[in-house]
């Protein structure tokens, strides 16, 4: 059974918490207050005054904030890469990869981050992390270093799920240099039939 079905099947079991009975009195009092409250325009005017004060403050600090922003960006990047290096479980590593991908989404590829990702691709044995790294690397299809590492990984990888992901990736990149690692996969007796099939299809496509 998939995790998805397990959760759906146990949906009602999630409703196992009860609200404290003490809150009923609080609610009654609040209901009375809310339903018999004073005029709304007065509240709106007060709120508008607070908003205008807040807006002034925001304008004043915006300039200083902008100045600090760049330094913070570098600090964030370093912290994210450190978190990735320090992650000692598969789930914390996966989460660190996603954090990097999210927080640095709109930026150019960063050498430090790419190296951290390449390291996972080469050494890490966890399939989910590798798949997440491949997704992240595919955002830079024109980067030669990225393409090289994906092809190298295709030649060295033995985990079927990651092999399939890499085959799909080099197919997207239409990378002719993938032919050699693809042949290696096809000729390897230990490769799964599904992986061999995908590799053969891609090889045929590249040979066209």
């Amino acid at each position: 059974m998939s995790l998805e079905h397990f959760i759906k099947d146990h949906k009602t079991a999630f409703d196992d918490s009860k609200m404290s009975e003490d809150t009923t009195l609080d609610f009654e009092a609040r209901l009375q207050q809310e339903l018999h409250q004073g005029s709304k325009p007065v509240r709106r005017l007060r709120a508008m005054r607070y908003v205008s004060i807040a807006a002034s403050v925001v304008l004043l600090i915006a300039l200083g904030y902008w100045y600090q922003n760049e330094q913070q960006r570098i600090e964030v990047r370093d912290n994210l890469v450190s978190a990735l290096d320090a992650s000692d479980t598969n789930s914390s590593r996966l989460e660190a990869i996603y954090d990097i991908e999210d927080q640095l989404a709109d930026e150019e590829e960063d050498e430090k981050i790419l190296q951290a990702f390449f390291k996972i691709l080469k050494t890490d044995s966890d399939a989910n992390s590798k798949i997440a790294v491949i997704d992240a690397l595919l955002k830079f299809p024109d980067n030669q270093l990225v393409r090289n590492h994906l092809i190298d990984a295709l030649g060295n990888e033995t985990e079927p799920l990651v092999q399939l992901k890499l085959i799909k990736s080099v197919a997207l990149l239409r990378e002719q240099r993938a032919k050699a690692p693809l042949k290696k996969i096809i000729e390897n007796e230990e490769s799964l039939p599904l992986v061999k099939g995908n590799a053969s299809d891609l090889l045929a496509m590249l040979n066209q």
Partner: protein
């Protein structure tokens, strides 16, 4: 007050799954009831009262997180490539315990937990979640796949420990 007594626990559980904090979840239930009472004329069919209240408490809870800036990840979310779902091996159903799954969901970051909860437990579609959070549907799908992967990873760790 009869309606309150009948639905408060259901709404409390919905809110608690979204904002985790018990006190805040209780406040959200109260906010939701007040809003519901003020807008009761908008309810077209009494039979829909439960789902209608649920929607209101979900809205209140998400607004609360927005005000607390706990939904700042929405600005970080962006259009990703369609992330095809690559499943690792199915979890062993016999060793899967409901309590572990619940704890693992609660331990997820907001950006994954909220989408997982709304989709799998509250029966929102990806499209509805996207509208609710102001995201693209493809981004919601992607975050959902990621969240599920993280959840599986956590549970696999638990099983192998």
């Amino acid at each position: 007050m009869q309606v309150y007594q009948m639905y408060k626990d259901m709404l409390y559980n919905v809110s608690l799954r979204i904002i985790i904090n018990q006190q805040d979840a209780q406040d959200m239930v109260h906010d939701a009831f007040i809003k519901a009472f003020q807008n009761i004329t908008k309810l077209e069919n009494d039979l829909n009262l439960g789902p209608w209240l649920k929607r209101i408490v979900v809205n209140c809870s998400l607004d609360f997180l927005r005000k607390k800036k706990k939904l700042s990840w929405l600005q970080e979310s962006y259009e990703l490539q369609q992330d095809e779902e690559v499943l690792t091996e199915e979890l062993d159903n016999t060793s899967l315990k409901f309590e572990d799954v619940k704890k693992a969901i609660d331990a997820l970051k907001d950006k994954y937990r909220i989408i997982i909860v709304l989709y799998l437990i509250e029966d929102y579609s990806h499209k509805e979640i996207a509208q609710q959070l102001g995201l693209k549907e493809s981004t919601v799908r992607n975050q959902y796949v990621r969240g599920k992967r993280l959840l599986k990873q956590q549970l696999q760790n638990k099983i192998t420990v």
